[in-house]
């Protein structure tokens, strides 16, 4: 690998470009993409770096559908492969993602979300939460979902996503948004070649005499076999629970716990500090993995917190999982902006203050 050798590993980089550089350093062997705002810089960056990485496949497909099916093919021969897009493009990939989850093919899918529904807007959004964590395509399956909240995490989570997708043979998604893709921050880049490649004895690389043929398929026409495959997948999702990651800030004494992922967690961090200045005991829980979801961590907080407020850039999606975790033990409120609008820390604070007043009245 050419990159990273003799170059400064700390740089000021745009999220999309940092993510692309990280993928190269993580030993990505193939990338297939299609232009869509606000993530096109990923493919542009890879295209310009391609000459430094002979042997790495960078291909602009004719559509997101073609691109994800190329990912299927490349993953099926054991390559470390990535694809990136934004919301409408990710919608187009859902069929193949279902096939890949069923065929147990590893790949990293990056969704730099934009506002929807429909063609929507190119501004940042978190409205693809349901699509990302609940499956997205048809059938009983999940993606592994990581939600970065900084350009540094756009870099770090690429490594985590490749590690997890290969370990569990399950597609892994990085659920970012247009702001994270476009913003510039200081990043420290990992050394190239530091991520060992998992063996893929199942890969269809040509059948030698020494083994039976390898078949990659998601077709199990006998219901008994289809159910068996489903049981294997469900057991995998059980195993995945141990990979759950989250962060907590000032939750020890918190009466009001904010719950937010990705970009919104940074806004809520600011809100929390503003609220603390006003004497309100506010904490923050940030899910890092959205699937698996930090259900137990939330349930634990529900034992001493008084109220939860989930903040998202959508109409209220993760809040459903928060409510399932809290299971009626505390009230769970929601505050969201939609369609590419980003809430300000101050407007979230207004909501926090009104919730604080409510429960102070209730407990008075």
């Amino acid at each position: 690998m050419a990159s990273g050798n003799g170059k400064s590993n700390t740089r000021l980089m745009k999220g999309n470009e940092a993510l692309a550089e990280a993928a190269l350093r993580a030993g990505m062997q193939a990338y297939f993409g299609y232009p869509i705002t606000p993530q096109t810089e990923v493919m542009e960056y890879l295209s310009i770096q391609a000459p430094n990485y002979p042997g790495v496949v960078i291909l602009q497909a004719e559509s997101e559908i073609a691109a994800i099916n190329m990912v299927h093919g490349a993953s099926g021969v054991g390559a470390r492969v990535m694809i990136s897009s934004s919301s409408p493009g990710i919608s187009l990939m859902q069929e193949c993602l279902s096939y890949m989850a069923s065929a147990q093919l590893p790949a990293v899918i990056v969704n730099v979300q934009r506002g929807g529904p429909g063609l929507g807007t190119i501004q940042p959004s978190q409205a693809d939460y349901f699509q990302a964590v609940k499956g997205g395509g048809h059938g009983d399956y999940h993606l592994i979902v990581l939600a970065p909240s900084s350009v540094q995490e756009m870099v770090d989570f690429i490594f985590d996503a490749f590690r997890l997708t290969e370990k569990y043979r399950n597609p892994a998604m990085i659920l970012a948004d247009g702001a994270l893709g476009q913003m510039m921050e200081k990043v420290t880049l990992p050394v190239a070649g530091s991520l060992p490649k998992t063996n893929a004895p199942w890969a269809t690389i040509g059948k030698p005499n020494s083994r039976e043929r390898n078949i990659i398929t998601s077709l199990f026409i006998q219901p008994e076999r289809m159910e068996k495959l489903n049981l294997v997948l469900q057991e995998k999702y059980n195993q995945l629970q141990k990979e759950v990651r989250w962060e907590e800030y000032q939750t020890e004494d918190a009466e009001i716990v904010l719950v937010a992922f990705g970009l919104t967690s940074r806004i809520c961090d600011k809100t929390m500090n503003l609220a603390r200045e006003k004497g309100l005991k506010v904490g923050l829980l940030r899910p890092i993995t959205l699937y698996p979801f930090p259900t137990n961590a939330l349930a634990k907080l529900a034992k001493h917190a008084k109220v939860f407020l989930t903040v998202e850039m959508n109409a209220g999606q993760m809040v459903e999982d928060v409510r399932l975790a809290i299971n009626g033990k505390c009230p769970v409120h929601f505050y969201g902006r939609m369609g590419g609008m980003i809430p300000s820390p101050e407007e979230v604070l207004i909501k926090v203050e009104s919730i604080a007043k409510e429960f102070q009245t209730a407990h008075a």
């Binding site: 559509s63 073609a66 299927h72 093919g73 390559a79 096939y99 040509g206």
Partner: protein, 255 residues
């Protein structure tokens, strides 16, 4: 794998290739898929490239091709076999890669992937089985159904005004610079099968030389979908399909 052995005073002159599994096919009696599978696997056996070949199966009647072909294979989503094959070939450029698709798969839902795969000149062999009907779902109209053809979704016969003309996608693809070798064949008699075999081995030779996309259409039958006996279906094929889809080379390398 069962191997045919010589018996007293007689020697085996023709047997099933070892690159086919012993699994009985699910195909209807007389279906051309079985012949194409066998011929493809014969070529792979004779070229001794079983270890270097990766196939991509479609959605349609040949969805179970991997049950019969004793090689590494991937099963693609409907229409996307050539995109999957592209992913395979780009990562493993020195292996032999083929896609195997029917008319609904390649020429309807997968038209975009088909055209762009050929336009990029992906160095693969694309096999296209054209029987003018959706066999797996029970005989619906395909993009290649000929005019007047009765199917379950064109019960009064395909007519141009509302259903358009049969899509001669192979001629379209031959126009693309990425297409190196484009040829149309059939398996309705022994002479035709021999020609197809030559075309397949020629295509693999071109693939080894990294010449670009080789595209072989096989105009085939669907006795069940056409509601005919296998023998009748082959007669109907000659009389009705060949005038629209004439056999022979459509694009050959300039010598």
């Amino acid at each position: 794998m069962e191997t045919a052995t010589n018996i007293d005073g007689l020697e085996v002159v023709y047997a099933k290739p070892k690159t086919l599994t012993d699994t009985p096919t699910h195909y209807c009696p007389g279906c051309g898929h079985g012949v194409v599978h066998k011929i493809l696997m014969e070529v792979i056996e004779e070229m001794n490239i079983q270890e270097e070949t990766i196939g991509v199966a479609p959605v349609g009647c040949a969805v179970f091709a991997y049950d019969y072909m004793n090689i590494d294979m991937q099963e693609a989503a409907h229409g996307r076999a050539s995109a999957v094959a592209t992913g395979v070939k780009r990562v493993l450029p020195d292996k032999y890669v083929f896609s195997y698709q029917g008319d609904g798969d390649l020429a309807a839902i997968g038209t975009g992937e088909t055209i762009h795969t050929v336009n990029r000149g992906e160095n693969i062999l694309m096999l296209f089985i054209n029987n003018g009907i959706y066999g797996m779902t029970g005989g619906q109209m395909a993009p290649t159904s000929i005019l007047g053809m009765k199917t379950t979704t064109s019960p009064f016969g395909r007519e141009v005004a509302t259903m358009g003309n049969p899509l001669k996608i192979t001629e379209m693809l031959a126009q693309l610079p990425g297409a190196y070798y484009v040829s149309r064949h059939s398996v309705h008699n022994t002479a035709a099968v021999r020609k197809l075999k030559k075309a397949i081995s020629t295509s693999f030779k071109y693939q080894k030389e990294k010449k670009g996309t080789c595209f072989i259409e096989i105009v085939s039958n669907c006795p069940s979908g056409w509601k005919m006996t296998p023998v009748e279906s082959n007669e109907w094929l000659e009389k009705n399909m060949f005038p629209i889809y004439p056999l022979g080379d459509i694009k050959v390398p300039k010598s």
